[in-house]
Symmetry: C2
Subunit: 210 residues, 2 copies
């Protein structure tokens, strides 16, 4: 399955849950397409790959879609996440209430100076000495890295060693799982905000030339 | 030019500036490849497209690369950015000192309740009534959207109308430039943190099946 297809599936799933919460009973491929930013034809193609059928007049049945997407993408049991580095980005993530609509739950934060963290939330913040036990005891699979760039790869190794399988990294370094440590592979998604901004400037400057 | 190539160019440029600051005089394609996360062959291919030559024994000359990349990607005059929505994400961006190493400069924040914003930085925060004049008077080309999802598309229209050409959007909605307003196109880059996390969970669950 290619990454774009999976990303679209995740977007369909979230959208369908929101539509169900709004009381929708049916939805058409062009509504789904507009909301996700793709053509209705691609929606129909994706759905036919998943053997989901609707009809021209009535569209797709929302309850059927919710059930099918939960089956395909995994049900909506809470997906627990930890945050390592409770500074500006880390605490913004811990305070965000929007994650619960997507069945995401930040269960703990970790920091080298836990007593200095300004944490108005109920999410507990621990020192780094508790990180690996917490990951193993609570079977945590996904974590966020929000520490300074120089610390990120060391923190990654600690997380992977304890059993983390997926990492969302905000530090501006290209993190790679040091192969020798990974019996199971670890998916790393880098979010580099400065790079995204620079990329926007570059795209604008090339438009002006063309 | 395809997007991946541009993204690599931006990464090369930032890396080369950092190496120069560290006092490097030469660099080999395998160092560049390791730091960016690509093969040395791809580095050499990218550089030959740009007519940048090095030699097998000595590698590439850093000063030559800095000059060439500033020419290709635009010099390092400050790239000014505004932030609309000065809540958790918005203030984290305004407080971040790391942008200056990439010649990025957050020059102002805008919020519907500017007096409520907790802003320990020197970056001024204004009400939304000042947004469009500020964009026009300071020729701002890039902005960040960090308002709630229901507000994002209205805020985008205000920004594009005033001349913004590139937007980094954190609100979890697929923003599209409403075509009728765009004489010039507007590049929109969506950063959806919840989706990235869900995508990691999905990738892990599919690994377990295979
Ligand atoms: N704030 C932004 O807008 C922004 C923008 C782009 C990139 N980033 C990147 O995101 C990351 C986080 O940024 P921030 O602004 O939240 O930083 P921050 O300095 O506010 O927070 C970093 C936190 O990490 C903790 N820490 C440092 N070393 C640690 C270690 N070895 N183990 C555990 N905890 C450790 C610190 O105690 C601190 O609480 C950085 O890598 C930064 O470059 C941030
Ligand atoms: N905090 C996170 O970790 C996180 C994670 C994922 C997504 N997001 C998304 O990022 C965006 C920002 O999140 P946040 O946590 O910083 O939110 P927040 O509620 O802390 O801040 C939002 C700010 O926007 C301002 N605002 C609201 N409507 C406005 C309008 N019409 N014009 C100008 N300002 C307006 C508010 O006054 C507030 O200061 C949201 O869309 C959120 O869904 C945040």
């Amino acid at each position: 399955m290619n990454k774009d297809f999976i990303l679209r599936l995740t977007k369909y799933k979230r959208l369908i849950h929101k539509l169900k919460a709004l009381g929708f009973e049916k939805v058409f491929s062009n509504n789904l397409g507009d909301a996700i930013g793709v053509t209705p034809a691609l929606v129909r193609k994706d759905f036919s790959i998943l053997h989901l059928s609707g009809n021209k007049r009535g569209g797709y049945n929302i309850d059927m879609l919710v059930e099918e997407f939960d089956r395909i993408l995994g049900g909506s049991e809470q997906q627990n996440v930890i945050v390592v580095g409770c500074g500006r980005i880390g605490t913004a993530l811990m305070e965000y209430t929007g994650f619960s609509t997507d069945d995401l739950n930040i269960v703990a934060g970790f920091d080298q100076f836990p007593e200095k963290v300004n944490n108005p939330t109920k999410v507990p913040v621990y020192g780094m000495d508790k990180l690996q036990d917490f990951i193993r005891e609570n079977n945590i699979k996904v974590g966020v890295i929000a520490v300074p760039d120089a610390e990120a790869s060391r923190v990654l190794d600690m997380m992977v060693e304890a059993g983390i399988r997926g990492v969302l990294n905000f530090a501006p370094v290209e993190l790679k799982c040091s192969k020798y440590q990974c019996e199971t592979s670890c998916e790393i998604q880098n979010v580099n905000i400065a790079l995204e901004l620079e990329h926007l400037f570059y795209q604008i400057s090339t438009q002006d030339i063309n």
